[in-house]
Symmetry: C2
Subunit: 495 residues, 2 copies
């Protein structure tokens, strides 16, 4: 992949000087249209060999364009708030909104490549990172992002020459560190690992662009033109929604689904409830005060039929906890800032730090439930959501989050009974709206969506817990008990 | 202030049990109305003596109300992202939006009181903190926030008894730490400092409520009722805008203002410009790479007449810097999330960490300029903004921020010339809109607003730099030079 970038590309000063003014005007124009349309974000990744002009190019792009609408993110050492969350959290929080350009200097490629070069990871781990990156970038482009991935390259002797010449000049000497020479010694390994990574991550939607870094004029002009062309192409030819190539989901032909296996008649006596409630609330409380808990975090999410008892169950959990420890995130319509970002952004922003408990009252599953049934998004949007969600949850679990997903199931009759009851009781009046009655008419559609959701997102690492909730007390105990079990299991694994 | 809270208040079980169900329904009702109206945020501070039931009360409020609309913030040790910003940053980022309740467990009172009790600060420093707190809370209530400040109190012997009884019970033993007994030894000092602080911060808009903590039933019922009453009162009687008691601002009777002192004819030759530009860009670059710079941060804000040359000046600054080091914040209309917060919130969220440079293209001064002239806010809103801004800037400077405020002044004729020029040049077309022409018609109103702004916010710690900008090059050099000088001065001070 690097051959063409070792040919010694050059541009003479006259051609460069003639080209630049036009290029700048065109870039400013494109940037203006981008801001006006505000229909997609631009993500520029800057990676490559040390000394190949990465920093210079970033500075130049800022100089040529309007820097007010560019955000540059230098991904140095993570802060403590970042370290206590999945590695991708820092990138999610830095994603540019629609209409803006985000330049990542040091990107999600940096750590996987360097770790492998330094022998801190195995090839199999690199392969896994590559797979995750491909899925992440696919999600971004599916969400509409324009991704431009630059690799600035230098042949081995060119890098040596470049470092030496930087060292010679008093003005630039500071830029060459010992680490740079250490890296230089690893050049061959670095080239090999990078080559592999670039090959495996150069996809149709987000291909790599390798730019030879030896000649500043060539490098700058190439980078500028690539950005311009990518922007212009995207701005002028609005991407048509691609047709999804999967067959539509089919209901099971015998009409048997996971909910048929639930014994909805399960209930417990008031006495058993009182004993068990005290037992499991106490246990839960103790678990969160265990020193081992400080290395974990808990995300419990609640989905379920309307009037399924989410609120009541959540209160039984929080009653066991110190209020300083948990955070409840009720999911409502996305805000303006959230709408300018990929779908999962508004959930990423609420990921707890170590030792925290976050409870989602409804969740990212809205995409494949209400948004699917009510047609708030296209079929391909909710179809791709299944794997995006699985990827998201895998990252949570990988970073020591105990993720527990509850579906509170009630029968259609029980729902009717609860709706009527709610209408009668004063302080519950706000829990029942005309929308609830409308949703009820779509009971079958929702059931279909729920079954597909469970089929496609109940994974080994994050299985769905189906809760028979016709009896509220039975449900509450099952939920508390499950939470305790999962936390205990996670603690044992860490021993 | 604590006498009434040492009387041994008690509530018997029967009265308590009779009262609670009604109280809970009423609280839920009020909370529902709060969410529906979404016209103000509720901020509850929980402070007081250790063992007086602070944590229990927070948990109870969460149990009684709908915890999904309450955010509890335990203010423990600050994260590194928090430590590198003014101390109040962590509170600003945690403020609840309109319609929600934020409970601060450990508040802006905690550190000033404990530092004084432990002898780490002098009385004069406490007095200063108190003054800052009063101004901060006044800003919050002026912005519409409802603040409820709880102080849970225990007499000295009651505290001793409480700690001993917690220690005796195996279930609660963990809650008593050595630090608690250390604090107990300081009880008298703590009482004295707290009494002083409470007295000085109990204002008409945000009075303290002292609650005796000995009897859990009394304490809980009192807290619940106070929250209910405060909420209900505010919800049912929308606060009428108070009339501002200051006289309206008067233009100077001789029509002489600060702008008359500017020599707008100043200009420099192209040759001087080129030499000076290289000199000061180089100097600025070196300064930001000085190890001492890592303990500073820079905020440069740009205001000025339309077409005053803000963008061009900003580009001359950023051209001197590595793009990883700076961030430009163009100020546009506030987003939905920003509108649900106090005015200054949207600026606080962009405060840089140590070593960072943040450039505001327009700023918090919009309140006293465009919002005043265009009547987007009331007279009392912009009148109070002057002191709110001064308080804000004082905090920035106190936490080692070099704050430089530039006003780019051009003459009315020069503006006309630039407007016409912009209309002619293709890639500058987006810089001139119908709005610019409309604003121009209000030239005198804007000039009046600018003079008042300079008079009221050009302070010793953050003076305005008025830049004669009819000659763009003169302006650019003055700006770069000033920035260098101010950073050097700040570095010298830290030696």
């Amino acid at each position: 992949m690097f051959e063409s970038a070792e040919l010694g590309h050059k541009i003479d000063k006259a051609s460069y000087d003639a080209e630049i003014p036009k290029l700048r005007v065109a870039l400013l124009d494109a940037q203006f249209d981008l801001a006006q349309q505000a229909s997609f974000p631009v993500i520029i990744l800057v990676n490559g060999v040390d000394g190949a002009g990465k920093g210079e190019t970033v500075n130049l792009l800022n100089e040529w364009m309007d820097p007010r609408f560019i955000q540059v993110h230098a991904m140095g050492a993570p802060s403590d708030e970042e370290r206590e969350r999945p590695p991708m959290w820092r990138f999610w929080r830095a994603l540019p909104p629609k209409g803006k350009i985000g330049i990542f200097f040091g990107s999600w490629y940096t750590t996987p490549i360097l770790q492998r070069v330094r022998g801190k990871t195995k090839t199999s781990e690199l392969v896994q990172s590559i797979d995750q990156i491909n899925r992440f970038e696919k999600m971004l482009t599916d969400e509409g992002a324009l991704i431009i991935k630059f690799w600035f390259h230098l042949a081995k002797d060119a890098q040596k020459k470049r470092l030496k010449s930087l060292e010679k000049d008093q003005k630039t000497r500071w830029r060459v560190t010992e680490a740079d020479w250490e890296n230089y010694k690893l050049y061959d390994k670095f080239r090999k690992v990078s080559e592999h990574t670039l090959r495996e991550t150069s996809t149709a939607d987000s291909p790599w662009v390798v730019v030879e870094g030896t000649d500043p004029r060539y490098r700058s002009l190439a980078a500028g033109r690539i950005v311009l062309e990518a922007l212009r192409k995207r701005l002028d030819h609005q991407v048509k929604a691609r047709l999804l190539k999967v067959a539509p989901l089919q209901p099971p032909i015998d009409q048997l689904d996971v909910f048929d296996t639930l014994n909805m008649a399960q209930k417990i006596s008031k006495k058993t409830f009182d004993t068990e409630l005290e037992k499991y609330q106490g246990k839960f409380n103790l678990l969160t005060r265990d020193p081992k808990f400080r290395k974990l975090s808990v995300i419990a999410l609640f989905e379920g039929s309307d009037a399924g008892g989410k609120g009541g169950s959540i209160r039984r959990i929080t009653a066991a906890l110190d209020a300083r420890r948990y955070r409840i995130i009720p999911i409502a319509a996305p805000t303006e800032e959230e709408r300018a970002q990929p779908y999962l952004w508004r959930f990423w922003r609420h990921i707890p730090r170590d030792g925290g408990v976050t409870i989602f009252d409804r969740s990212w599953y809205g995409r494949v439930l209400v948004e699917r049934v009510e047609k708030y998004c296209s079929e391909q949007d909710w179809m791709r959501a299944y794997s995006e969600i699985n990827d998201f949850e895998e990252q949570l679990v990988d970073s020591n989050t105990v993720l527990v997903k509850f579906w509170l199931a009630i029968s259609k009759d029980e729902q009717l009974r609860r709706f009527k009851e709610r209408e009668k009781i004063g302080f519950k009046r706000f829990k029942i709206t005309a929308e609830d009655w409308r949703n009820r008419e779509k009971w079958d559609d929702y059931e279909r969506a729920v079954c597909d959701m469970v089929d496609r997102t109940s994974t080994d690492i994050a299985p769905w817990v189906l809760v028979e909730a016709n009896d509220k007390n039975f449900a509450r105990i099952k939920i508390l008990k499950t939470l305790c079990q999962q936390i205990e299991a996670a603690m044992k694994k860490r021993k």
